[in-house]
Amino acid sequence: MDFSTIFEKLYEMTAFSNIAAEPTFLIMYALGFLFLYLGIAKHYEPLLLIPIAMGILLANFPGGEMGVYGATDLLINGVNYHNAITLDNGNLANSFLATLKDGTQAYIYGDPVTKVPFDVYHCSLPQIAHDLGLMNMIYYWLIKTGFIPPVIFMGVGAMTDFGPMLRNLKLAIFGAAAQVGIFSVILVAVGSGAFTPQEAGALGIIGGADGPTAIYTTIKLAPHLLGPIAIAAYSYMALVPVIIPLVVKLCCTKKELEINMKEQDKLYPNSIQIKNLRVAKIIFPIFVTVLVAIIVPSAVSLIGMLMFGNLIKEIGADTSRIADTASNALMNIATIFLGLSVGATMTVQSFLNWQTIGIVAGGFCAFAVSIAGGIFLVKLFNLFSKKKINPLVGACGLSAVPMASRVANDIATKVNPKNNILNYCMSANISGVIGSAVAAGVLIAFLR
């Protein structure tokens, strides 16, 4: 073996050879570094953006075997195989070269002798870990099964206080109006012809402004879009302090923003006062779970877990140990695995295409239309009601708890420093979480 052969082998061993052969990897690195910068220096949702960014980097170093392979149906030699995996190269022992429907050749994960692709859902976890790497095992075990988002929802429930919603129940209706962005974007996305109804459903749910809901719906409807949709959902949630003021500026007059909710409450007081909030807070999650389970069973995995988390928090000392685990340790573990594996789904093949641009644009529209939807329902209410409501409350119907409420309160106090509307905003804000999970349930039930 002469020196040139040794250097050639060394070159092939490192990632340089692959990067030189396919320079598009560099775009993914730039994206990874950008998200790292946004997470570390700009503090945009750091708990999620940083694991996602590292996931992107890990997945896109060729030879590292950390990228997640998506499972699709493949037509090979006239036979349709379910949940087959197309590999990047033929390095794996369990692979064979096959001609696909469009005439291109690709390495398929399967039995090299019989030339039959493996159905990845029927492979054992040790086999996936051994053949496809650890990240694929985590993805197919924790993410693809839809396990992680409900666990995160349980933690969110254990950190949520439904008190402001119970005190201002009427305002909760704006959490419904602010889901209009989800369905409008589905309509436009389907109309454009670039997305199937399932893909459009996953895209539209970004407008629910709720990370776990968006991820859960995408896993169920269009798992191949998981990376870009999760990125868009969390990026726009981080940008709520920019998007809400923008939409409010376009839709509201200064006079409307000056509406003082506390004064309105004094003029027209609520008909009932809660005498025992503690009991109400304990019964509320049980009652919502039963109600949603009866009407939209497909939303129960999200709402049920949210309400379970909330119940163990509200019971207090008797269940404080599990409430603590749900909202801290367990949720953090779930967040780590979710972030890393969602990042790892963003390989060159799955991310660099026109659909990603559509998702980034569509996600923004879904957000903006949802905010406007809440605002306009408030305006409609104000036309007919003596008791006026500040349109900023409607803008908070878009989940993103509690950031949306804080941003809305900031806008209100800027106009009038004495006008503190945080508690009123929280009512619409929390009901928005229920609203978007119900919307997700409807999408899953009809499109799956």
């Binding site: 959490g175 889901q179 009932i272 005498k275 919502v288 109600l291 229920i434 409807v442 009809f446």
Partner: protein
Amino acid sequence: MEGLTPMETALLLMIIGMGTVFIILVLIIQLSNLLIRIINKVAPEEQPAAKKGAAAAVAAVPANVEAAIREAIKQVAPGAMVTKITRG
């Protein structure tokens, strides 16, 4: 959703989706109101927690002890002014 064009599916989803979300939240609001009324009748009212510690802090220092403290401070640091003596 079979037999419908994608556009018809999307329109139908919009109507069913928004309808369901509104129905569920209206039900939650109305039934929660009912729930609160029942709780107000059945469950006893919450007692505001008694303020602890407030009484202890105000407890006066006996006059003879206060005089002794003032005298001691005057001897150790002449010119110093004692403004308040309270029990810890």
